[in-house]
Point group: C2
DNA sequence: CAGTCATTATGCGTTTACGCATAGGAGGCC
DNA sequence: GGCCTCCTATGCGTAAACGCATAATGACTG
């Protein structure tokens, strides 16, 4: 009879490719993971993961087992959600995830009020680079900058975020207002040109003839670069407006903001409470957000 | 993040209804099971199993979790079978299950030869009262007295077992040959009248007017009762014929013998080897078995 | 109503599994 | 080639989990 925790370890190693990576994903030590895998294979009697110079790769025997281990994981996560969904206390922890600027500038005042209203609920605000999975219970609620699709998700629209081209007064005085094409101007962009955010795509078109003045993946760094006169940035109104930057014409991009949670935890009281607070709080800031 | 082994423990308790029963089913102690369940519920934060005077019963929260835990078990068993199915060694353990008499009288000589042919393979012969589940990996191969239906099973017919009415020469001398109806005779039956084995049903009809002389669930006990002159028993030819009992007319019941294994382990060499030995060995005894 | 058999709860000693620390490779990059 | 980083392997001490034993409780039976 195989140990279910060992199956989980096997799954982690098969995914990560290394003992260390697998151990990290489960929050245990690499030495422990190595021993567990050894125990698992000893009991299985078959070699499931072959050690190669590039890490562990599945044998053909392992592939068959992997498929079932993944089914186990799916069921385990569903069980976890089912249990959470049955938690009727108006207390405990809620993990909310969204992008950094929205969290800091828009959500914080809402959460401050919420903390006062529900002292028993602890909100954990996670602003991860990576989009966290609600299905995998990496977070309970998510505020997303686009309408999520598919999955067993429940979604509510929180509002629209308007974007504009901004620059510092000093830059404006020296270079003037850019015309379409942006010839002779400098723009502040993301590290990679990959992102297909609507406002970013529009900017790439509008400033097709401009040069790159600065690059950063952090909106806050972009904001500071903008204030320092390094060029024109495409920023959300809520972020740029209070900073005394000059708003330039030519941008009418906006993005929808959606509140997302998993269907299984829809009825959980503490999630409902935070959800309602976010909907109301965002509604009150509608004018600022749209610009 | 819930512990998968705890989920398994929860499932066991939900099924068994008691900590002790659950512990037995997993091969651990009752104290351990109690502590695991406590840890599980503490982490879940919700009461999943309510303790009642009659044992543990699921709360509504628990029912949701149970369904997922059962899916996990299904996947875990499938994983185990997948792993076993990939074991290419012509060595190791094979667990074979069937009824007691067939095991002792018919299978033993076949297994003795098999043990000599394949010294690396250890055959475990389990003659359990209860029909063991191949899907749950309680056994690897099963010799069944009826054609199994459904499931992901692979089946091969091993032959037919003939039955006859037998009694001791002394009983026969005193009571004569029974006529249809069996009036004035005594029959040896099972403990309960429930079993719907074909030969048993036929006997109940044929001896409708007879009295009950003895009851036992063990065929060996029935055999001895028969030899002791307690009445007429319906016994398989292979069991009764070598014992010097008198065979009576009126019985033409027979049952098919099938070899069963799970589809997932069909290709495993050591199972294939035993399977072939059983098929050949049974074929050689066809005449004796049919009577 | 006592006796039996099942259950759960708890204390104690031991084993096991774990984290930590360290040593020994195996690429990747300047 | 040397350095850096990430990996795996292994020894050691500790802490958590386990088995065992026992007590307490409750249900069924004669």
């Amino acid at each position: 009879m195989l140990d279910w925790e060992d199956l989980r370890s096997f799954l982690a190693v098969a995914r990560a490719g290394t003992l260390s990576g697998a151990a990290r994903s489960l929050g245990i030590r690499q030495s422990t993971m190595g021993r567990r895998l050894a125990a698992f294979e000893a009991r299985a009697g078959v070699l499931l993961l072959q050690k190669t110079p590039r890490g562990y790769v599945l044998t053909s025997a392992g592939e068959a087992a992997l498929a079932e281990a993944e089914k186990m994981e799916t069921a385990a996560l569903a069980a976890e959600r089912a249990i959470t969904g049955q938690d009727t206390r108006l207390a405990g922890e809620v993990r909310l995830t969204t992008i950094e600027t929205l969290a800091a500038e828009v959500l914080m005042p809402i959460l401050a009020q919420f903390a006062a209203d529900y002292p028993g609920i602890l909100v954990k605000l996670i602003s991860s680079q990576r989009t966290l999975s609600l299905a995998a219970r990496e977070a309970d609620l998510a505020v997303r900058m686009a309408r999520p699709l598919g999955g067993d998700l429940v979604i509510r629209k929180l509002g629209d975020i308007g974007y504009g081209y901004y620059t510092s007064p000093a830059y404006l005085a020296r270079h003037g207002v850019p015309t379409p094409g942006g010839a002779g101007h400098r723009v502040i962009l993301m590290e990679d040109d990959a992102p297909n955010f609507p406002e970013y795509v529009a900017m790439a078109q509008y400033f097709a003839e401009a040069e790159v003045g600065f690059r950063s993946d952090s909106r806050y760094v972009q904001l500071q670069a903008c204030k320092a006169g390094l060029g024109v940035a495409c920023l959300a109104h809520y972020l740029a407006a209070p900073q005394g930057l000059a708003r330039l014409p030519g941008c009418d991009a906006n993005r929808e903001v959606w509140l997302v949670q998993h269907r299984d935890t829809k009825e959980t009281p503490r999630f409902k409470a935070l959800s309602a607070a976010l909907v109301n709080g965002m509604k009150a800031q509608n004018a600022l957000l749209a610009g």
